[in-house]
């Protein structure tokens, strides 16, 4: 019997009814966490989550499970730090093992400009509650065992930042913990039901049309990943989102002895060893927009070379599986959350390559917004209005790859 199986969670499935206070489209982490918070924290239990495939089957079950808050602007640092803090208590709160492992994230620089950027990141993080320190190459050698500081002469390591709160958790278990909590509190979660349209009353969204029938809703929330623009268009809301594939891979499992989480923006990869012992790696988004989830050779061919250049010992690890998620990229690499021009229709999207780490805070804030009718201060900067109001949160250097 392996010790990593899910031994506790109970999923109580229910039939989809015909009317709810809140209908959430998308049973990924953000949809489930929003439902959980509505039901558990605000007592709003007449809620349905509609998932077209199976819960956590999109990006919430395909990401590379890194939790961090080392951003370059005050607003995202505050938000992701809130999420990081919520992750720290999620096991206690839900009594479920999410394999949360806080071990520090090392973000490497290979240039003078990168060195400068990691110093800047440390200053910004410390100012807004995230613990990040600049580190010199000698310290990096200790933090990332087996690293080749010279990286083949091409990518010499010039420094980096150690984000002390950087952590990982098992993605599936986070989804299930929220799903179970929501179900137990009375939320209806259905799988295999596809939203095919929205029911409009003038501009107002008043329900959803599904392949199993219409469902009336006081509020509809799109927590969709990958096809966010498709759903928003049904409400006549235009999102500044492009969808790009993001690829990842995992090796066979080995004794869990490598404790680092290492990311290199210049080399375009990040890697960590999971609780079960697999080495888990990913890259930047593919440059071309696409909804394809097909993995390609170019990605794994390139990322393998880069990983092996930095960690030669990994050359003998065996690749087990590649996969692909599709990411909703906003123009400023920052999420888009809250009200839209369509009354009754809320969005939580633009989760790009950084959605997993935001699940607890994203769900908390969306639920607060629905319960109070007012946008919480924490996510006010993420309003869709920012694009029209020239208040974008340009911070590409922090979006990283995960």
């Amino acid at each position: 019997m392996n010790e990593f199986w899910e031994a506790k969670v109970t999923l109580q499935w229910a039939e989809l009814g015909s009317s709810y206070d809140v209908v959430i489209i998308g049973g990924g982490g953000h949809g489930l966490a929003t439902a959980y918070n509505l039901a558990v924290k605000h007592g709003i239990t007449n809620v349905a989550v509609i998932e077209k495939d199976y819960i956590g089957g999109g990006n919430s079950g395909r990401n590379t499970t890194v939790i961090r808050s080392n951003y370059g602007k005050p607003e995202p640092v505050r938000f992701y730090q809130r999420s990081l803090d919520l992750y720290r208590q999620l096991e206690d709160e839900t009594d479920r093992w999410i394999m949360h492992d806080e071990r520090g994230l090392l973000w490497l620089a290979h240039t003078e400009a990168g060195r400068r950027q990691e110093r800047s990141r440390s200053s910004m993080n410390l100012a807004f509650g995230a613990e990040t320190h600049f580190v010199e190459p000698e310290e990096i050698a200790k933090l990332a065992p087996g690293i080749n500081l010279d990286a083949g002469g091409e990518f010499p390591i010039t420094g980096g930042s150690l984000h002390v709160g950087g952590a990982t958790a098992r993605h599936d278990r986070v989804n299930w913990a929220f799903a179970e909590g929501a179900m137990r509190a009375g939320v209806t979660i259905v799988q295999g039901v596809k939203v095919e349209g929205l029911i409009l009353d003038g501009d107002r969204v008043v329900g959803v049309k599904t392949n199993t029938g219409d469902v009336a809703a006081g509020t509809v929330v799109s927590a969709v990943g990958g096809h966010a623009t498709t759903i928003a268009t049904m409400a006549n809301v235009r999102l500044p989102i492009r969808t790009h594939p993001l690829q990842a891979f995992v090796t066979n499992h080995y004794e869990q002895t490598w404790d680092a989480i290492v990311a290199s923006n210049d080399l375009g990869f990040y890697i960590s060893q999971t609780a079960r012992g697999e080495m888990l790696g990913g890259s930047h988004i593919d440059p071309q927009p696409s909804y394809s989830r097909r993995s390609d050779h170019h990605f794994i061919n390139e990322i393998s070379r880069r990983i092996v250049a930095l960690f030669p010992f990994m050359g003998n690890l065996r690749v087990l599986r590649q996969w692909t998620g599709i990411c909703d990229m906003s123009p400023d690499y920052t999420p888009i959350m809250g009200f839209t021009s369509a009354p009754g229709f809320l969005i939580t999207t633009g989760w790009g390559t950084w959605g997993f780490k935001a699940i607890p805070a994203g769900g908390e804030a969306m639920a607060q917004l629905i319960a109070s009718g007012e946008t919480p201060e924490l996510i006010a900067p993420f309003s869709i209005d920012r694009f029209a109001n020239d208040r974008t949160l340009a911070d590409r250097g922090s979006s990283g790859t995960h």
Binding site: L11, P74, E154, H297, S304, F313, L317, R321, G397
Partner: protein, 728 residues
């Protein structure tokens, strides 16, 4: 021939696998379980020469040196000081790739060849593991001598069918065989002793058939009896070895991986899968060690979807990629009242390969090197990666480099600048719309600093525009912005239907910046021609090299940019260094250049800007002419100019302290922005910085606190704000 195993020397022969050699020596290398000899199961995994998870049945004994057993537990990581082997790749092209050299595969080969098509055929039994089908279609093949990549038009999957493994209690004992493996073992001369068969097993093996249905195996480490169920109850049949025939499961993984591509399946891979009886207990997934008890437990707790069952139990996520457990997971769910589920999505890779093997053929991204690369390195420069190029960060004494520019004369390699000729009847019209400046007022022989904006009015790049003739312009861009800028101009001019010609000369021309109060004097020694005036340009012969000479200044001192054929860079550099020797000329690196320009308040795109840098925020509205016609970003600029300004790039001064790049600025307890670039100015005797200042309660503060230091907000021009030195 031999290899080492746990301190034993195992003799081998040329044609056999590691597994067979071990079995001959009486060793079962895995931790028990039936052997298939076809790479379908995880029961013969070994660590072979530092690589774990190697199927010993698929590895020729002749390539192995050191073999150790694997077991079910995770093996250790390779030693941290282990190097990565270099793996070669063989790129091939074929009309048809046939995967599998069995009967149906060979028929497919013959048929394709008869049609005059080129064929590549790969069979695992000859050491060619097809590990993946990728878009292309591209077939990736692992061999013991390296990788093969085949681009093809069509793929024929003739991978046959795997034998369904038993997963009943005792399935992890030694002495269990799949029928084909037993056949091969017997043929290889292994003595299987008292061999008992269960299920559908060919008579030719000569095994004693146990009656009825398989229930479990018994034994201590090695099987000693098999228990079957008959109408009369359980029967125990003693044995030394058991061969188990439970039906076939087509190997469709590669076919499913190639779904949507031109992939055809032939032979046994087309078979309908047999659905085995789901046993009441046992290990359903040997890779992840998942029991039926666990599956039942999960199923009872709502993990009813096949993907949730897999993710909840981790069944199907191990080495054999569900080859053993998939039939049983399907059978399990069917048994629990669900419709028969499709197998899992097939993802690369079908059979594992190392990261080194995966990397075969790829290279680390290489940076461009200017024609002066060797010169910089021979001068002891520390090279840095920047904008896609190797550039000299410092030659070892940045202060001296800085002083050479401010007080005497210095050379800088600016070959990395984007350089482009734009000509044609509509050249002016195109550039008029690309840049927010009145291009028509740039006369031949003159040049101007320009910003390039995107549709949102944010700065994409900056550079110089120089008019050579009426309809011919020469443009420069930042080092990192050259390719993007070329595409930007091409795309827009095409969409406007303009008749222009564009030539990107970034890689063809070198460029040297000679800068400092003595720059004109040194340059005059190298030419008989007259040097251009400030913001003028002309084509001159300098030290025998034909140069386009631009007089402009990034450093704040008198400067000339000499653009010349790349092949002449070394000649020109060497001549100028000799001619300036009496002024103690020395080259300056990027670090010195960044300080020099910071004192002047010149921005660096990317360092001082992010994606929301509008000219207004940069305090560069002087570079935007709203009285000219339409230009990209105009509408957005007009719109955003009506929105109150929230932040701007300003100068910051301190009396005694140097600020850190990226430091956070405070006004009282409120966030007031961040330092963008900073330095201690030896010339001015104070700390200076460019910084992004944000409004605090609606107004821009006049002083800020940074790391406990009080600093003044000033205009971002510290050194020679009138520009008299550059114009001298």
């Amino acid at each position: 021939m031999s290899f080492e195993y746990e301190g034993q020397t195992i003799p081998t022969s040329a044609d056999e696998s590691v597994l067979l050699s071990l079995l001959r020596a009486g060793i079962h290398p895995g931790s028990g379980g039936p052997l298939c000899f076809e790479g379908d199961c995880p029961n013969c995994l070994c660590t072979i020469d530092d690589v774990s998870y190697v199927r010993s049945c698929q590895t020729p004994a002749e390539v192995a040196v050191e073999v150790s057993p694997h077991g079910r537990d995770a093996p250790p990581l390779p030693p941290l000081d282990a190097g990565a082997p270099a793996i070669a790749v063989d790129y091939r092209v074929a009309d048809v790739v046939v995967i599998g050299g069995g009967e149906s595969g060979l028929q497919a080969c013959a048929a394709a060849e008869a049609n005059g098509r080129s064929v590549e055929c790969f069979d695992a039994s000859t050491g060619h593991d097809v590990v993946a089908i990728y878009p292309g279609p591209l077939v990736l093949v692992r061999t013991h001598g390296g990788m093969i990549e085949v681009e093809c038009d069509e793929i024929v999957v003739a991978t046959g069918a795997a034998e369904i493994h038993p997963v009943v209690p005792g399935s992890d004992l030694e002495g269990l065989w799949m029928p084909r493996a037993a056949r091969k073992a017997v043929d290889a001369g292994l003595d299987l002793g008292q061999l008992v068969s269960v299920g559908n097993v060919p008579d030719a093996l000569g095994a004693t058939a146990a009656p009825g249905e398989l229930v479990r195996f018994v034994g201590d480490h090695t099987v000693s009896a098999v228990i079957t169920a008959t109408a009369d109850g359980e029967v125990e049949t003693p044995c030394d070895n058991v061969v188990v025939g439970l039906g076939l499961h087509p190997r469709t993984g590669l076919a499913r991986m190639g779904n949507g591509m031109n992939v055809r399946v032939v032979g046994d891979a087309l078979l309908d899968a047999d659905i085995p009886t789901c046993p009441p207990e046992g290990i359903a997934c040997p890779c992840s060690n998942v029991t039926f008890e666990q599956l039942d437990n999960l199923h009872d707790r709502g993990f009813t979807h096949m993907e949730l069952l897999k993710r909840g139990s981790l069944a199907g996520t191990g080495t054999c990629q569900g080859s053993v457990c998939t039939p049983y997971l399907r059978s399990f769910l069917q048994d629990r009242g669900q419709a028969l589920q499709a197998p899992f999505t097939a993802r690369p890779v079908a059979r594992q390969l190392t990261l080194s093997e995966m990397a075969a053929g790829s290279h680390l991204p290489k940076l461009a090197r200017t024609a002066l690369d060797d010169v910089h390195r021979s001068l002891g420069a520390r090279m840095d990666r920047m904008g896609g190029w190797w550039r000299p960060w410092t030659y070892g004494d940045t202060e001296a480099e800085y002083t050479a520019v401010r007080e005497r004369v210095s050379l800088g390699d600016v070959s990395t600048l984007g350089k482009m000729i734009v000509t044609g009847p509509d050249a002016e019209a195109t550039l008029q719309r690309i840049f927010p400046t009145n291009v028509s007022t740039i006369k031949p022989g003159r040049s101007r600093y320009v910003l390039m904006l995107d549709e949102r009015g944010y700065v994409l790049d900056d550079g110089m525009i120089a008019r050579e003739h009426d309809d011919t312009f020469f443009l420069t861009f930042t080092s990192g912005g050259a390719s993007m800028s070329e595409m930007w101009i091409r795309d827009w001019s095409a969409s406007w239907g303009h008749d222009i010609r564009i030539l990107n000369q970034t890689l063809s021309l070198g460029a040297i910046n000679i800068t400092g109060p003595k720059a004109a004097e040194v340059l005059a020694r190298a030419t008989d021609d007259e040097l251009p005036p400030f913001l003028g340009h002309s084509t001159l012969t300098i030290a025998g090299v034909e140069c386009k000479v631009f007089r402009l200044s990034f450093t704040g001192e008198l400067s000339f940019e000499l653009h010349h054929p790349a092949a002449d860079s070394v000649k020109l550099w060497t001549a100028l260094m000799e001619l300036g020797a009496d002024h103690d000329i020395r080259p300056h690196g990027i670090e010195a250049l960044f300080r020099l320009r910071l004192e002047k308040g010149h921005i660096i795109i990317g360092q001082d800007t992010d994606y929301d840098a509008s000219p207004r925020r940069l305090q560069h509205e002087w570079a935007v002419n709203m009285n000219t016609g339409d230009f990209i970003g105009r509408t957005a600029t007009e719109r955003t100019n009506r929105i109150p300004l929230d932040k701007k790039l300003v100068g910051i001064e301190t009396d005694g302290d140097t600020l850190v790049d990226g430091a956070v600025m405070w006004s009282g307890t409120e966030f007031a922005g961040t330092v963008s670039s900073s330095m201690w100015s030896p010339t001015l005797g104070k700390g200076v910085a460019l910084a992004w200042l944000e409004t605090v309660t609606g107004a821009f503060p006049e002083t800020v606190r940074i790391d406990g230091v009080e600093a003044r907000v000033v205009p971002p021009h510290f050194y020679d704000p009138e520009g008299s030195r550059a114009r001298a």
